[in-house]
């Protein structure tokens, strides 16, 4: 689906279309997304719940007021057996536009074969709920989420932080406004964690530009989600993009 929108961002109509397309694919892939509509309008949001097995290491609670960077005590493992590491690297690289520091982090990890030091924390099953809304102020999608133990206890911000993969944690730490905070859900009025949208335009711009240059359709919401989702444990299977454009038949090589 080609976007006529300028590099400025996403409007309500385009957001709705992107979401509907994502939904169709989600249904085929059984990925669990649904659309929650505001009665009688196109306004609404995408929603998905998922169970995740996560290690919460309370001893490596990050003081996200900014001190964590000099000491890296235990790192908690982000156990997602089916999450390919390449996806995270790609996602992180696109997100930062500063591939050197991300590669640096990953190279350190290589010594341990990509396994973090296992911490004292125990593994828990948690219920996550993810919502994708449109921010009209920023003209970008925004990811809201909340997490509960199976007994229904809400996770604290510290616990959520300690379940973020170390590769992402440092990047988020450095700019408080690009980080995870507790916010009021604009439509539900309840506390949700949110990934701040103010830098979204920055990392989406090269993606959109490249797509435009290559005359390739792009789903803004899907591309954006593949970047931010992994940060908070939301997997976006590669099949979403392989389905979007099946291989074109061999032709004279001219772009369509």
């Amino acid at each position: 689906m080609m976007h006529e929108m300028s590099m400025c961002g996403l409007d309500e109509k385009n957001f709705y279309c992107c979401c509907q397309l994502l939904l169709q694919q989600s249904e085929q892939l059984r990925d669990g997304w649904s659309w929650e509509a505001v009665q009688g309008s196109e306004e609404g949001y995408l929603k998905k719940t998922a169970l995740r097995s996560v290690v919460i290491d309370s001893s490596s609670v990050w003081d996200h007021e900014g001190c964590g960077s000099d000491s890296e005590p235990h790192t908690s493992c982000h156990s997602q057996p089916d999450q390919p590491d390449e996806e995270e690297e790609q996602a992180a690289a696109v997100a930062s536009g500063d591939t050197d520091s991300i590669k640096g982090d990953i190279d350190d990890e290589d010594e341990d074969d990509g396994v973090c030091a296992v911490s004292e924390g125990s593994s828990q099953m948690l219920q996550y709920e993810y919502h994708i809304l449109l921010s009209c102020s920023y003209s970008t999608p925004v990811l809201y989420f909340r997490a509960f133990t199976l007994e229904g206890r809400s996770l604290s911000l510290e616990e959520v932080w300690s379940s973020v993969h170390p590769n992402f944690r440092l990047r988020l730490q450095n700019s408080p406004l690009n980080t995870i905070t507790l916010q009021e859900h604009p439509l539900l009025g309840q506390p949700f964690f949110m990934l701040h949208p103010c830098r979204t335009e920055e990392f989406m711009r090269p993606v959109l530009q490249a797509a435009q240059d290559q005359h390739r359709p792009v789903n803004y919401v899907l591309s954006w989600l593949s970047v931010v989702g992994p940060v908070v444990g939301l997997d976006v299977p590669l099949q979403y993009s392989t389905q979007l454009h099946p291989a074109p038949p061999p032709s004279s090589g001219k772009p369509d």
């Binding site: 929650e36 406004l177 905070t181 507790l182 539900l188």
Partner: protein, 200 residues
């Protein structure tokens, strides 16, 4: 802007006389007296109620006091709404002083955001400023300000210093004639009920 200074001062110095009463079910070692305070309309509950906390802590054991939260006639009060907004939304018809109930247990985390420190309030405030500036100036003004300018804006609010605050806020409120003025005037509508009530 200079002509409006009186109006700006009136808005800044708006106060709501408030009476804080401890929730009856709190465990206390002796009777708790109500605490009276003039709340600034433009500020946030958790920013201006340290004295309230200290006052009630005197009659409680430390282990019985968890995160403080406020309620008015059964409704938990959202600290992240400016105090003036809370009053206008919930209590505009009440006889003054505004009577708020103070709690130290059973924090309603399905309704209220936690507020563990002032830096959370600062982040929330700055986030609102940024969002408004996106609409108004495509973030140009807020991004051109230095970090210390942002800090000064916040400190002005935190310490109730009109001049300190407006020295910085002026930049956000100026009318850039070369671009034909504000792109938009940002405003936020608060309502008591939400479009959805979700079952959790």
């Amino acid at each position: 802007m200079a002509d409006d200074k009186d109006v700006l001062r009136d808005v800044w110095f708006g106060r709501i006389p408030t009476c804080f009463i401890l929730n009856q079910d709190e465990v206390t070692e002796r009777e708790a007296e109500p605490y009276y305070l003039l709340l600034p309309r433009v500020s946030y509950l958790t920013l201006v109620t340290d004295k309230v906390r200290k006052h009630f802590h005197k009659v409680m054991r430390t282990e019985d006091a968890e995160e403080m939260w406020f309620e008015y006639e059964g409704t938990p009060l959202k600290w992240h709404y400016p105090i003036g907004v809370l009053f206008d939304l919930h209590a505009s018809n009440t006889v003054l002083p505004w009577s708020i109930t103070v709690h130290f247990k059973n924090f309603p985390d399905r309704d209220l955001l936690h507020c563990p420190s002032n830096s959370v309030i600062e982040a929330h405030f700055m986030s609102s400023i940024k969002e408004a500036d996106v609409l108004k100036h495509k973030s140009q003004v807020v991004n051109d300000m230095q970090k210390k300018d942002h800090k000064q804006l916040w400190m002005g609010l935190q310490n109730d210093k009109f001049d300190q605050f407006w020295a910085m806020n002026r930049k956000l409120m100026e009318y850039p004639t070369e671009e034909g003025g504000f792109r938009c005037i940002p405003f936020r509508i608060y309502q008591v009920t939400f479009l959805f009530s979700s079952c959790v």
